[in-house]
C-alpha cells in the first residue's frame, strides 16, 4: 500500500508541474491578448506610427519585420541546402558528418546578442555601412541556419535508401539524383525548418538592434548601406523600457499581440510535420 501512495503522490506532484507549465502559457497569451485586443483595428495595421507610439499604427514596423524575415529566409535557404547536401551526400566520412552536426549545435547555442555584435564588427566597422535591413536579414539568416539545416538533414537522412539505390542503379549521376530525388523529397523539411527558424527570427531583437532597425523615421528602404527599417520587436523593446507613456500602453500591447500572433502562426504552421516526426519516434 505504501507503493500505491508513493505512486499517487508522484503522479500528483508531476501533474502539478505540467499544469503549472500549461497554465503559464494560458496566462501569457491571455495577458497579452486581453490588453492588446482593443488596439487592433484595420488602421492599426495600415497606419503610420505617431506621437512616439502613442497613436497611429504599426504598418512600417510590420513591413520592416517582414523584410527582415524574407531576407533571413533568402540567406538561410541556400546555405542550409548546401550544408544538408554536403552532410548527406558528399561527406562520406562518419566523423566529418558529426563535425558538421557539432558545428550546427554550437551555432544554435550562440546567444543572439553575439550575432548583433558580430554584425556590428563586420558590417559597420569593416564595410562602413550604417544600419541596414540587409545586415539584419543576413544575421538573422545565420542565426536560424542550424534550425533550417537540421530539419533538412533529418529529412534527407530519413529518405529510404532504396530511392537512392534505385536512382544510382539507373546510372544517374549524383547531381541528377540530388535534383530529381533528394531535393524534391526534402522540400518539406526545408519548409518546416524555415517556418520554425523564422518564428524565432521574427521575435528577435538582439541581433538587429545595433545593426538594422531603428525606432522611428524609417519607411520602405530605398537602398542598402544606410537603409534601416522599423521592426515590431524593437518597437516593443523601446516602448517597454523604463516607465513609458501610459498612453502608448494600449498600442504597445497591440503590437505585442501582433508579434505574438505572427510568431505563433509561423510555429503552428510547422507543427503538423513536427508532430508526425515526434509520434513516429514515440511508437518505435
Amino acid at each position: 500500500m505504501r507503493r500505491k501512495s508513493v505512486h499517487r503522490l508522484f503522479v500528483v506532484a508531476t501533474g502539478l508541474c505540467a499544469v503549472a507549465a500549461v497554465a503559464l502559457l494560458v496566462l501569457i497569451v491571455w495577458s497579452i491578448a486581453s490588453r492588446g485586443w482593443a488596439a487592433l483595428s484595420w488602421s492599426f495595421f495600415t497606419g503610420h506610427m505617431r506621437e512616439v507610439g502613442a497613436d497611429g499604427g504599426i504598418f512600417h514596423n510590420l513591413i520592416g519585420t517582414l523584410i527582415l524575415l524574407a531576407t533571413a529566409a533568402a540567406t538561410s535557404t541556400p546555405l542550409a541546402l548546401a550544408i544538408a547536401l554536403v552532410h548527406g551526400v558528399y561527406l562520406r566520412h562518419h566523423r566529418l558528418r558529426r563535425f558538421v552536426g557539432l558545428g550546427l549545435t554550437i551555432l544554435n547555442g550562440v546567444p543572439s546578442i553575439l550575432f548583433g555584435l558580430f554584425g556590428m564588427i563586420v558590417f559597420v566597422q569593416w564595410l562602413g555601412w550604417g544600419k541596414s535591413w540587409l545586415t539584419g536579414g543576413l544575421l538573422l539568416g545565420l542565426m536560424i541556419l542550424p534550425t533550417v539545416s537540421v530539419s533538412l538533414i533529418e529529412r534527407i537522412a530519413s529518405l529510404p535508401d532504396r530511392y537512392l539505390e534505385a536512382a544510382a542503379g539507373l546510372g544517374l549521376p549524383t547531381s541528377r539524383i540530388i535534383r530529381s530525388v533528394i531535393l524534391p523529397q526534402s522540400l518539406g523539411g526545408l519548409l518546416t525548418g524555415s517556418l520554425l527558424g523564422l518564428a524565432r527570427a521574427a521575435g528577435e531583437t538582439a541581433p538587429i538592434m545595433f545593426t538594422a532597425t531603428i525606432f522611428a523615421g524609417a519607411t520602405i528602404p530605398q537602398g542598402i548601406k544606410e537603409s534601416p527599417v522599423l521592426s515590431l520587436p524593437y518597437h516593443i523593446f523601446v516602448l517597454a523600457q523604463d516607465s513609458f507613456d501610459p498612453a502608448a500602453g494600449g498600442r504597445l500591447w497591440g503590437a505585442a499581440l501582433v508579434l505574438l500572433g505572427l510568431v505563433l502562426t509561423l510555429s503552428l504552421a510547422a507543427l503538423p510535420a513536427r508532430l508526425r516526426l515526434h509520434e513516429e519516434a514515440h511508437d518505435t
Binding site: K4, H7, F10, T14, G15, C17, A18, A20, A21, V22, L24, I28, S31, I32, L79, A82, I83, L85, Y90, V100, L102, G103, T105, I106, N108, G109, V110, P111, S112, I113, L114, F115, G116, L117, I121, V122, V124, Q125, P173, T174, S175, I178, R200, A202, G203, E204, T205, A206, F210, I236, A240, Q241, W253, A256, L259, V263, L266, S267, H278, A281
Partner: protein, 301 residues
C-alpha cells in the same frame, strides 16, 4: 558522377554546396576569431584581472567583468533552480503518465510557449512580474522591482519549455520494451519511472538542463528589461542572498545596453565589450559542447 568527369564538367551542385558550406563555416569561424582578436587590447590591458576585477569604470579605463559574470550566474541559477525541477516533473508527467490523446495538446502548448519572443516575455516581466517581485521583497526594502531575482524568475518561465522538450526527448530514448518488462514484473508506474526511465534518461536530462542553462546565460532582451542594469554589484559576503533583491547586470544585458554604442569609438573600451562577448561565448559554448556530448553518449547503446 564518373560520366560527368569524363565530360570534364564538375557538378555545379557539388561546387555550390561546398562553397556555401564553407561560407557558413567561415562565418562561424570569423565570429569566434573576431571576438578573440578584437578583445586582445583589454586582455593586454587588464590580464586575468579582466575576469576577476570587480570594478568597471570605462572613463578611468578600469575593466573588471566579475560582477557581470556573477550576475549572469546568479540569474541563471535562479532560473534553473525553478525551471529544472518543474520542467523535468512536467515532462515526466506528460511522457510517462499522460494518455496519448492528451499528450499532444500539452505538447503543442509547450512548443508554442517555447516560441514566445523574448521581448514579449520582457514586456510581461516589466508590467506584471516587476510589481509582484517588489511586493514580495517588501520586507527587505528593495529599491525597485528590477532585481536579479526578477530576471531569474522571468528566465525560469522562458527556459521551462526548453527543459521540458529536451527532457521528453531523453525519456523517449528509453526503449518501450524495458518499460513493459518492468510493468510485467509488477513495478508500479512510478517505480518504472524512478528505476527504469530516469536512470537511463539521466545523461539526456542533464544535457537538457545544460542546454537550457546555456540559453539562460545568453538571454539578453528579457533580462535587460527587468534586471536593473546596475554596474559593479558585488556581494559581500560572497554567498549572501542579498543581491537577489538588488539590481544587477549580466554579461548579455551589458552588451545590449547603450555602452556598446559608446564604446564603439574607443579601441580599448570596445575591446572590453568584445571581451565580455567572448566570455559569454565561451561559457555558453562549453555548456553546449558538454550537453551535446551527453546527448550523444545517451543515444549510443
Amino acid at each position: 558522377m564518373a560520366m560527368e568527369h569524363r565530360r570534364g564538367r564538375v557538378s555545379l551542385i557539388k561546387a555550390a554546396s561546398w562553397a556555401f558550406t564553407l561560407l557558413a563555416a567561415g562565418a562561424v569561424v570569423a565570429m569566434v576569431g573576431l571576438f578573440v582578436w578584437q578583445s586582445r587590447p583589454v586582455w593586454r590591458h587588464a590580464g586575468w584581472g579582466f575576469l576577476s576585477g570587480r570594478e568597471w569604470f570605462y572613463r578611468q579605463e578600469i575593466f573588471g567583468a566579475a560582477p557581470m559574470i556573477y550576475g549572469t550566474l546568479v540569474v541563471a541559477a535562479v532560473a534553473l533552480g525553478l525551471a529544472a525541477p518543474i520542467g523535468i516533473g512536467a515532462a515526466l508527467f506528460t511522457s510517462e503518465f499522460l494518455p496519448r490523446r492528451l499528450r499532444i495538446p500539452v505538447k503543442v502548448s509547450l512548443e508554442l510557449l517555447a516560441g514566445v519572443p523574448s521581448v514579449v516575455y520582457g514586456l510581461l516581466g516589466i508590467l506584471l512580474l516587476r510589481g509582484w517581485v517588489y511586493d514580495l521583497l517588501e520586507p527587505w526594502e528593495p529599491l525597485s522591482g528590477d532585481t536579479l531575482l526578477t530576471a531569474g524568475l522571468l528566465l525560469a518561465v522562458m527556459i521551462l519549455p526548453t527543459v521540458m522538450t529536451l527532457t521528453e526527448d531523453a525519456l523517449r530514448g528509453v526503449p518501450a520494451a524495458q518499460r513493459l518488462a518492468a510493468r510485467g514484473l509488477g513495478l508500479t508506474a512510478t517505480e518504472v519511472v524512478l528505476r527504469v526511465s530516469l536512470p537511463q534518461a539521466a545523461p539526456g536530462i542533464l544535457a537538457a538542463v545544460l542546454l537550457s542553462l546555456g540559453r539562460a546565460l545568453g538571454e539578453m532582451i528579457a533580462v535587460f528589461l527587468v534586471v536593473g542594469r546596475q554596474d559593479n554589484q558585488w556581494p559581500s559576503p560572497l554567498l549572501t542572498l542579498r543581491p537577489l533583491t538588488e539590481a544587477g547586470q549580466t554579461l548579455a544585458s551589458k552588451l545590449g545596453g547603450a555602452e556598446t554604442n559608446i564604446a564603439y569609438g574607443d579601441p580599448l573600451h570596445w575591446s572590453a565589450m568584445v571581451g565580455l562577448a567572448l566570455v559569454l561565448l565561451a561559457l555558453v559554448t562549453s555548456l553546449t559542447l558538454l550537453g551535446a556530448r551527453l546527448r550523444r553518449s545517451d543515444h549510443a547503446p
